[in-house]
């Protein structure tokens, strides 16, 4: 089982490091690339839990389809770096909201960890559907993820929008 341990910590370190890079990088293309690495290392973890189906979906849907589109948009707009504009009052409000959401999701993870055994196998698509929609706890996490992706898309539009007179 020592191999499992090595693989797990390897994937965990890569996931955390690349996750940090996503928000620490200045250039959007580096952030997007880091996010792809995060998703792939999450897929490794799903595969190690015996959920090959979810692992593959993670790669197909997120790393394969969604991130390609994001990269595509970033490349077409050729935004090299953000100008360091932190957005004033809205920026501070967003930061506060972010901290609240982060704390909330920590609570969700904490509560979830008590009840869901890590080795519960989720392999078929029917299992996935049941897991997602039959219990409100996972539904909340699922919807929260959707909001996260939506906010990323809004962000991309804001970055892409040409300001008047420029």
């Amino acid at each position: 089982m020592i191999l499992d341990v090595i693989l797990f910590y390897g994937a965990a370190i890569v996931a955390l490091a690349s996750g940090l890079f996503v928000i620490a990088q200045r250039s959007p293309i580096n952030s997007a690339f880091s996010l792809i690495v995060t998703m792939c290392s999450l897929a490794v973890m799903f595969a190690m839990l015996g959920s090959g189906f979810i692992a593959v979906l993670q790669v197909v849907v997120y790393a394969g389809a969604i991130m390609v589109l994001f990269l595509f948009v970033i490349m077409l707009l050729n935004t090299k770096q953000d100008e360091g504009d932190r957005g004033g009052g809205i920026g501070r409000a967003a930061m506060a909201l972010g901290i609240i959401l982060a704390l909330q999701s920590m609570v969700v993870v904490w509560k979830g960890a008590e009840t869901l055994p890590a080795n519960q196998r989720v392999t078929t698509s029917a299992d996935v559907a049941r897991g997602l929609f039959s219990s409100p706890r996972f539904l909340y996490a699922f919807e929260a993820t959707s909001i996260l992706i939506l906010s990323a898309m809004v962000g991309a539009i804001v970055v892409a929008r040409k300001e008047k007179g420029k």
Binding site: F53, F72, M75
Partner: protein, 374 residues
Amino acid sequence: MEMLLSPANKEMGIDALIALIKVAVIFGALLVLFSLMTLIERRVLAFMQFRRGPNRVGWFGILQPAADGIKLFFKEEVMPEGAHKFLFFAAPVVAIITAYVALAVVPYGGPLVLPFYGQVSVLGRPLDIQIASLDVGVLFIFAVTSLGVYGIVLAGYASNNKYALLGGLRSSAQMFSYELALGMSWVSVIMAAGSFRLTDIVATTEQWGIWPWMILQSPAFIIYMIAACAEVNRTPFDLAESETELVAGFHLEYSSMKFALLQMAEYINMITVCALASNMFLGGWLSPLPGLLPNSPLWFFAKMLFLLFVFIWVRATVPRFRYDQLMRFGWKRLIPAVAIWVVFYSGLTAGFGERKSPPTTMAARVVAAPGVSR
């Protein structure tokens, strides 16, 4: 130390070791096949165009790939000015890794059975010629090849060159468009097999008989080959590197071994799609004359090589699409065609097919069935 040598660890270590050896062997075999492919492609193209092709180095030019390799090794590495250094380096690496990883789940033959010896086994484990038999095999290949597009996109972006960027963008748009048709062409096969596992698909082919399978799945096969051709950026779909308008597209700024890696990824991808087609649509290692000739991995290779030949043949025959034609063909012809096929096939299955049991029992039933060699 005690914990390290527990029986579970030992078992796992042996499995890992066998897998590593398999990886090394298959990696080497693919390197050889890749270098031969470059030669075969040039020779076959030359033959079809009434030329001679490379025939100076060694017997029939057999050493030409080695000569090319040595030449590329000693070429100067050029880093274009203003290039994104890390991504410029990462792009060929991503391309080659995704190309190779996809081949890990392709079965090259059933369990290895030698004449006069029987089933070959290593340390009590029956040896089959496949690195990993995944439950989600086909989906895994789909996932990994969809990551392969990053190699091209990044190469185009990181070069800081208009032509390269255009090549990368064209190529990624093309790959999304044709990925849809590619994925949907698998649906009828997966529906018939009731499993994503490639060995299960071949086992289903054996149950059906290889000829009924090939005839019934032939519409899906044709659509697959067209979409696969676009997916690996081969003529008539090689808009990504159309020399006449984009100089060379996404790999314009690449030189020396980085260029070699990008080329290699392209050829390995071509081998992957042909290996997959051989397993899914043509029965893999099953003999085309069941009863007369035995099943053997050689059949798998023969079918794969034939499909590779078809790709070269098409390249010598068909001119390149214009970009708007490419998009129109992909979205307005190919995807509707494959959608109609999927609905039609579902109707056939609902009307005449037997009820499928779930995949896990499917595998068990195939193993238990008499006279089925896997």
